[in-house]
């Protein structure tokens, strides 16, 4: 029956040895990344086909909405935009004040974050791990360990990039941990994923820690992966465990991780700038405050206009110009033709 070729035992042995070799190499080095990338292109049609029904459904849903609904939605969005714009106006001033204060302390300040909108493919890789696929890959310059956000808060980080798509680990994955701090008092700790999409746990705080229900947790920026100051979760449970070393604290992620469809991928590779120079800056509020600093600041993109170009006469149109040219925390929103641009609102209190 198996007249041709080696016996079934030999074949089995070869297959097992090959897989073990692959496992060991893939575990210890990145040498198989190319092979994985090529195979992933081959398999992309499957992901595309699986994703198609839900995309089709969304498309239909979008194009057959009633006129009244659309009108109501536009009205709501306009209102939201107005509120966000006004808030950004103040954010502007606050950021500059923050830079000045930091310069007094001679500490550094990070500027220069770029964003790209990506869409989550509705495929389910594994029921246990909280890993999702997005439709942007290394073709768009994505790289590993990039933070991923949504307008509500932090979602996760890129753990693997393939040419056409990349894998993102959500903050609620049991293998994920994110350095956070309590917004109220700056208490730093680590939030670990629980395996449930609506829950993070904070396992490393003692029973007398100054934290309570309703506290907002923001990224502390300590791990180096996530930029500082983005909202992560809200504490929803605090239980003292008298017989144990640490309290039981859990938090609900700000982003609705089970509902998101679009995410923002952040380029956070801007170097921090030293602020020991601008002590001499006059405390004015116009766009030139940053001028002495900009030569030092490594601007990471050609299109990113240096802040000094904000001339005083352009000040009256500052909110719009600031959002487009980017003086604020988010400097630039890269969009693709298919997906509309999104703006990050300031999510603080």
């Amino acid at each position: 029956m198996f007249a041709k070729g080696p016996s079934i035992n030999t074949r089995f042995l070869v297959a097992v040895l090959l897989s073990i070799a692959l496992l060991v190499i893939d575990q210890s080095s990145a040498r198989l990344a190319n092979m994985r990338a090529m195979l992933s292109i081959l398999l992309y049609p499957i992901l595309y086909a699986v994703n198609l029904p839900s995309e089709f459904f969304n498309e239909i849903n979008g194009s057959v909405s009633a006129y009244v609904d659309l009108k109501a939605e536009v009205g709501k969005l306009k209102e939201q935009q107005f509120v966000s714009d006004t808030r950004l106006l103040k954010f502007e001033a606050l950021e500059k004040e923050n830079i000045r204060l930091r310069s007094l302390l001679e500490s550094s300040y990070n500027i220069g974050e770029e964003l790209m909108v990506a869409e989550i493919l509705s495929v389910n890789l594994s029921p246990i791990d909280h890993v999702v696929l997005v439709n942007k890959g290394s073709r768009f310059g994505l790289h590993i360990k990039q933070p991923v956000l949504d307008t509500q808060g932090v979602i996760g980080q890129v753990i693997r990039t393939l040419p056409l798509n990349s894998e993102i680990m959500l903050i609620t994955d049991p293998n994920h941990a994110i350095p956070v701090q309590v917004n109220r008092n700056g208490l730093r700790t680590i939030a670990v994923g629980s395996g449930h999409l609506n829950r993070l746990v904070l396992p490393f705080l003692p029973n007398n820690a100054d934290i309570k229900k309703g506290d907002l947790l923001i990224t502390s920026g300590l791990g180096g992966t996530f930029p500082q100051g983005y909202p992560v979760a809200v504490v929803d449970d605090f239980q003292v465990q008298p017989n144990k070393q640490f309290a039981y604290i859990s938090a609900t992620p700000k982003a609705a991780l089970d509902k998101i469809r679009e995410v923002l991928i952040v380029w956070n590779d801007a170097k921090s700038i030293s602020l020991s120079l601008p002590l001499s800056i006059p405390p004015t509020l116009d766009g030139e405050v940053l001028a002495p600093v900009t030569p030092v600041a490594p601007v990471n993109d050609q299109n990113l206009k240096p802040v000094e170009q904000n001339s005083p006469q352009a000040f009256d149109q500052l909110p719009k110009a600031a959002m487009q040219q980017g003086v604020g925390n988010i400097n630039k929103v890269l969009t693709t033709p298919t997906t509309g641009s999104e703006q990050m609102g300031d999510e603080g209190e």
Partner: protein, 162 residues
């Protein structure tokens, strides 16, 4: 004969691709733990139906593709599929003529082996979580098998064996 060969290849590839799609189908959180390992079921079906045609290496290759598709360590699913294929090829003569229930029991054992190994290899990689949920697809897979078994029976009647 070559016509037969190419149509066999077409059906094999088509069923494996459809099974891959079913494996990554987005389901509600309650249902997703019950999604059986369609690819393994299809592989077992073909190994029992045409054991002289599809062997360990074709299963190994499909496993490798599954590793890429679901973002696991390369070689993990390939190893598991190779092991299950070996068992199927060792026992296919008996399993083919088992009553359906007994066949389902055999499939149950294969699936338990596969999912336990997958869980084990995953946990060498990142020892973080333990729950019995990983065995739920075994139950759904076993419940689905009788249908495949009936199809298998009808095919075997028409085809010369070995």
């Amino acid at each position: 004969m070559s016509d037969q060969n190419s149509s066999d290849l077409f059906f094999y590839l088509f069923s494996v691709i459809v099974a891959m799609g079913l494996n990554v189908l987005p389901l509600s959180p309650a249902l997703q733990f019950w999604n059986p390992d369609w690819v393994l079921l299809v592989l077992i079906f073909w190994l029992l139906a045409l054991p002289y045609k599809w062997g360990i290496f074709s299963s190994w290759l499909v496993g490798l593709l599954m590793d890429v598709l679901t973002g696991r360590l390369l070689g993990q699913q390939a190893l598991i599929f190779a092991i299950v294929s070996y068992i199927c090829l060792k026992f296919y003569k008996r399993v083919r003529y088992f009553p359906i229930l007994q066949q389902a029991l055999f499939i149950f054992c294969c699936l338990v082996l596969s999912h336990t190994l997958a869980f084990g290899i995953n946990n060498i990689h990142n020892p973080a979580h333990f729950g019995w949920e990983f065995l739920l697809p075994v139950i759904s897979g076993t419940l689905i098998w009788p249908f495949a078994g009936m199809v298998l029976r009808s095919i075997n009647l028409n085809q010369p064996v070995g």
